[in-house]
Amino acid sequence: MPSSPDATTVPAPTAAAPARRRMLPLPSRPGRRGHEARPVGAVVALTLLGVVVLVALLGPALSPYSSITVSGPPDLAPFSAGHWLGTDHLGFDIATRVVEGARTSLYAACVVTLGSAVFGLALGTLAGMAGGWVDQVLMRLTDLFLAFPATIVAMAVAMGLGPSLSSSMIGIAVIWWPLYARLTRGEVRRVASSPHVEAARLSGTRGLTLVRRHVVPSVLPTVVVTASMDIGGVIAMLAGLAFIGLGSPEPAPELGLMASSGMQYILGSWWIAVIPGIAVGLLSLLFTYTGDALRSLLRGTGA
């Protein structure tokens, strides 16, 4: 990456231009957030994220118990011997179930986010590059979807398809792609008029090649960063849907479901409901924070 943005030099057509927002030499403002570029934070967040993903992937191999069979006395408090996070009212090991639940959450959220991002990216690129009536139609459609109340539509779709994990995933994907379409379209419009794309066009690059080699690489970082932040939101939303009964049925180790069925025992054994809830919060926080740090890095490069 060039160390300073210089709009007058035309980069070699093959070089992927760094996606960056317009950078103005901003004066340091009083009281302005002091965390613009924080590679340390990003490194810590990414490391933690790596650990969590690893634990979730290894999941079943790490625990001596199964997530859906009784493995000890019921209602064991956390930090008991053999059961780090205690057991629930049936005697299931909570740690095993939380890891399993985190694995399901990660998988589901990644699929939903990736699916929506790819779809939105394709549609947004099409709209941005085509312009004219194609752009008009696609963006009106996007606006229409954006006007829908996200969680309510997700609920309706999940209910319509019959409560299950995959229907709530579809429900969320239905309302999530327009965000990416809108974002991509804006970025594409900006990139399409930039010197390096202009140069590529002049040198005869056309159609899909132009899009694939010059436009998409410039747009991708922004979309990836947004997606990495969104995974946290999707995890929370999936847990919310599972909490109200739109996820898998009992006794699936799903974090939202575990929290909602644990609510009955809240007065006696608070940990049954609270631990899965904390797991959702931590996962969601981790992704949001990582995305935030990545975004600051991206915005802060060269500044």
């Binding site: 847990a239 919310g240 739109l246 909602s260 809240i266 904390i278 926080l285 949001t288």
Partner: protein
């Protein structure tokens, strides 16, 4: 301004239409066979056919949709399978409860947003810790905040009630909004009790939106304080306080307001969860029960109602934005 408002309301109608199509399609072609759920699995073929005829299920889809919409507009929302009562009666019973909670949540969010916006802009290490904590709080799902609230304020401290809307019976007031009814009938103890019941649920649903609001507000304030027009105002001798009030707040208000509109959708879904936890007898609790018993018609109607609620609020927010900020009208 009027033209903008009319155009915005036009698109509102379009969105509502599309929303009703979506809900209609999902409720008709999604889960299960409505006739079978009405008559049970042992019904004779002729009874099923008669019922299909009666419900108009054999008509072409556009005709069915037209029937559906015209019935909706006449206030006929169909039967609720889970309670065997008209959905309309169920909604009428529960709407005030949700309304009370929603209004309180909205107020709480604004208060949290404005208070935290000041904290959010704190410089230095302390500010960093505060921001990180807030980010964490905003990431917590509403059910976790609600559960923590129950554990701290009910189980540990015993300060606040956590079940239902009141320790007394339903209010005798007209609005069904208990806090208000107590005030109107001069029964202050009743209002106070209802308010105590309201605190935790409203807080649990408003923490996330409140923090989101605070972030936008803090961002907007710091941008407008550093802007050229603020500098001009300062150079003309305005005090920092007046710059903040006359120029900063006004400019920061519009992104915050539109954020509030967007967050309203989040609030609605949090309300569904929170009502469940606090046994709040509103639309959310009804929705969860309907989902549990596969009462498709009730789920569809509540989704449509909550959806319409959100869409209308956002249209109003947009019009309000245009009224505050003339630039919006031009875009």
């Amino acid at each position: 301004m009027l033209r903008f408002a009319v155009r915005r309301l036009g698109s509102l109608v379009l969105v509502l239409l599309c929303l009703s199509i979506l809900v209609f399609v999902l409720s008709r072609y999604g889960g299960g066979d409505p006739v079978r759920s009405y008559l049970g699995n042992n019904a004779s073929a002729s009874a099923v056919a008669a019922m299909r005829e009666k419900l108009g299920l054999d008509d072409p889809m556009p005709v069915q949709f037209w029937d559906y919409v015209s019935r909706l507009l006449h206030g006929d929302l169909g039967m609720s399978l889970s309670t065997r009562r008209p959905v309309r009666a169920e909604l009428a019973d529960r709407l005030p409860a949700t309304l009370e909670l929603a209004i309180a949540t909205l107020l709480f969010s604004v208060v949290i947003g404005v208070v935290l916006a000041r904290v959010y802009a704190l410089p230095g290490c302390f500010g960093g810790i505060v921001r990180f904590t807030l980010l964490g709080a905003a990431s917590a799902p509403a059910f976790l905040v609600a559960t923590a609230g129950v554990l701290i304020f009910f189980v540990q401290l015993g300060w606040l009630p956590v079940s239902g809307r009141t320790s007394y019976g339903p209010s005798e007031g007209l609005s069904g909004i208990y806090v208000l009814d107590g005030l109107l009938t001069g029964n202050l103890a009743y209002s106070w009790d209802a308010l105590q019941h309201l605190l935790l649920p409203a807080f649990a649903a408003s923490l996330g939106p409140g923090v989101a609001l605070a972030r936008v507000l803090a961002d907007g304030l710091s941008t407008s304080i550093g802007s050229a027009y603020a500098r001009t105002a300062r150079s003309l001798g305005e005090s920092e306080r007046s710059v903040l009030r006359r120029h900063g707040l006004r400019n920061a208000a519009s992104p915050a307001l539109s954020m509030l509109g967007v967050q309203f959708g989040m609030m609605l879904s949090s309300l569904v969860v929170v009502e469940q936890i606090f046994s709040w007898n509103g639309l959310g609790q009804y929705l969860v029960m309907a989902i549990d018993r596969a009462d498709t018609n009730a789920v569809a109607t509540i989704s449509l109602l909550l959806g319409a609620f959100y869409v209308v609020i956002n249209a109003l927010v947009d019009i309000a934005l245009a009224a505050i900020d003339p630039r919006v009208r031009l875009s």
